[in-house]
């Protein structure tokens, strides 16, 4: 829980949630890892959102039974368009349909955008010139990549680093895009990306497999300031607590941290 005195200009805009359900049609699919994929939906009337916000998804069966879940928005705002990247939860109720069942032309309902705390708008005055540190655990990378995409689209030059913790190579989401984004750090929209494999590394990866450590989140030498003006951490609750301990060790005060946790500590049905 965080300091509530820090408000930003986006609060008023997002105070009223797009309050009704809208029909959404699947128009595109991209596989992201062996157990996740991106779904692109055409949603007439969707007016936009901020990077980091969520959308509620409602699936309804032919007999009227319905189930709802929240997902992070996977792209910066485009009118009439919503994208989510969904990780398969074994024995889940909604994610198997979204990751394995749904086909182009199929429909569902969406509502949103939702949330106004875990957001980054390029030009946010409370971030100033940055830098910004993004720390992802597993599929927690999704809203952070949306932030990177928005930053690139806006030509925002805030120095930014993504530290992405994942189990092994087959769990990597957005691999080619992250590689391109970090290939030439002098190119506009580029960001340093550190992949932290916890169990298995791909051939030639310089860092041995181990959990996120203090060295992984230390600032790149090019940063003008050793501490980021803002840190976003997204992942499971255990990951967020671990990363927060490391950030405290590096010297970050709580008011620079924004965190988002997902998932259940047990089996989420």
């Amino acid at each position: 829980m965080t300091d509530t005195n820090t408000t930003d200009s986006s609060v008023e805009e997002i105070r009223s949630v797009g309050n009704h359900w809208r029909k959404a049609t699947l128009i595109d699919l991209h596989s992201q890892s062996w157990h996740s994929r991106t779904l692109v939906l055409r949603v007439p009337g969707w007016t936009g959102h901020l990077p980091g916000q969520h959308v509620d998804i409602r699936l309804t069966a032919a007999d009227g039974y319905s189930a709802q879940r929240s997902y992070s928005l996977a792209e910066p705002a485009t009118p009439d368009r919503v994208a989510v990247t969904v990780d398969l939860l074994p024995h889940g109720e909604v994610s198997p349909y979204l990751v394995e069942g749904m086909e182009i032309g199929d429909e569902l309902d969406v509502r949103g955008p939702i949330g106004g705390w875990f957001v980054w708008e390029p030009g946010d005055p409370s971030i100033g010139d940055g830098p910004v540190l993004l720390i992802a655990g597993g599929s927690g990378v999704v809203p952070l990549v949306t932030m990177l995409r928005a930053r690139k689209r806006a030509g925002d030059a805030t120095p930014t680093m993504l530290v992405y913790s994942l189990r092994g190579p087959r769990d990597l989401m957005y691999g080619p895009e992250l590689e391109e984004m970090s290939a030439d750090l002098s190119a506009p929209g580029s960001a340093e990306v550190r992949l932290v494999y916890t169990r298995k590394i791909p051939d030639g990866h310089p860092r041995p497999a181990s959990h996120l450590a203090v060295e992984d989140i230390r600032p790149p030498s090019a940063w003008p300031d050793p501490l980021a003006a803002r840190v976003y951490v997204c992942g499971s609750s255990g990951f967020v607590d671990h990363a927060t301990r490391l950030l405290h060790e590096v010297g970050y005060p709580d008011d620079r941290l924004r965190t988002e946790r997902f998932g259940a500590t047990g089996v989420d049905r």
Partner: protein, 199 residues
């Protein structure tokens, strides 16, 4: 308007017949927190009620433990759509804390260690509807679930049940707390599905 999703059947969990609309069951206990977990020892923990007139009333951990406690067996509903059935807590009813408090104000702002806030009408905190709890399933409340002590207001969405609770300030006027200021519903009744502002 409801859209049928071709090929979706759902789980039709037979235990889930009496859930609030839009909720599903979880067997785990998911954690949702706006910021870092707060580490507060019982030595420094205290709970303070601040009325509009007179001095604030403060209870240390030992003073709270000396108050009559009760077992609470309730279902809890999170706005992120999970419901957990039959959770067991131990704590002190807010009625007990409010016995000596004189207030004419109808609104309360709950404050937590770390700066989190949430607003409720006073009538939702008294009358056997809310507690300060410090045990969960027979064990001391774990820090990620708000230990050493949190508010428990099970008839509202769980963001109202503030973790690491530190005090309540009485207010003449209603004001939004943390999530209420970020587009979530001001009251949060799960049975009326009051998730977001305007619901």
């Amino acid at each position: 308007m409801v859209t049928i999703s071709r090929g979706f059947f759902g789980h039709h969990d037979s235990r889930a017949v009496d859930l609030p609309p839009g909720q599903h069951l979880t067997n785990g206990f998911p954690v949702l927190t706006a910021g870092p977990t707060q580490l507060i020892s019982t030595e420094v923990w205290s709970f303070t009620i601040t009325p509009e007139i007179g001095d604030p009333r403060r209870w240390s951990w030992e003073e709270m433990m000396a108050l009559p406690s009760e077992e609470i067996n309730v279902d809890i509903h999170c706005v992120t759509r999970w419901t957990k059935l039959g959770t067991h807590w131990r704590g002190v009813a807010l009625d007990t804390f409010f016995e000596d408090i004189a207030t004419d104000n109808e609104y309360a702002m709950v404050h937590s260690y770390g700066g989190y806030t949430t607003n409720l009408p006073l009538e939702d905190l008294v009358g056997g509807k809310a507690w300060i709890v410090y045990e969960y399933e027979g064990e001391p409340l774990q820090v990620e679930h708000g230990g050493p002590a949190r508010l428990l207001v099970p008839h509202l969405y769980f963001w109202k049940s503030a973790k690491w609770v530190k005090g309540i300030t009485m207010q003449r006027f209603d004001e939004p707390g943390f999530w209420e200021g970020f587009g979530y519903h001001n009251y949060g009744n799960p049975w009326r599905e009051e998730r977001y502002a305007g619901d």
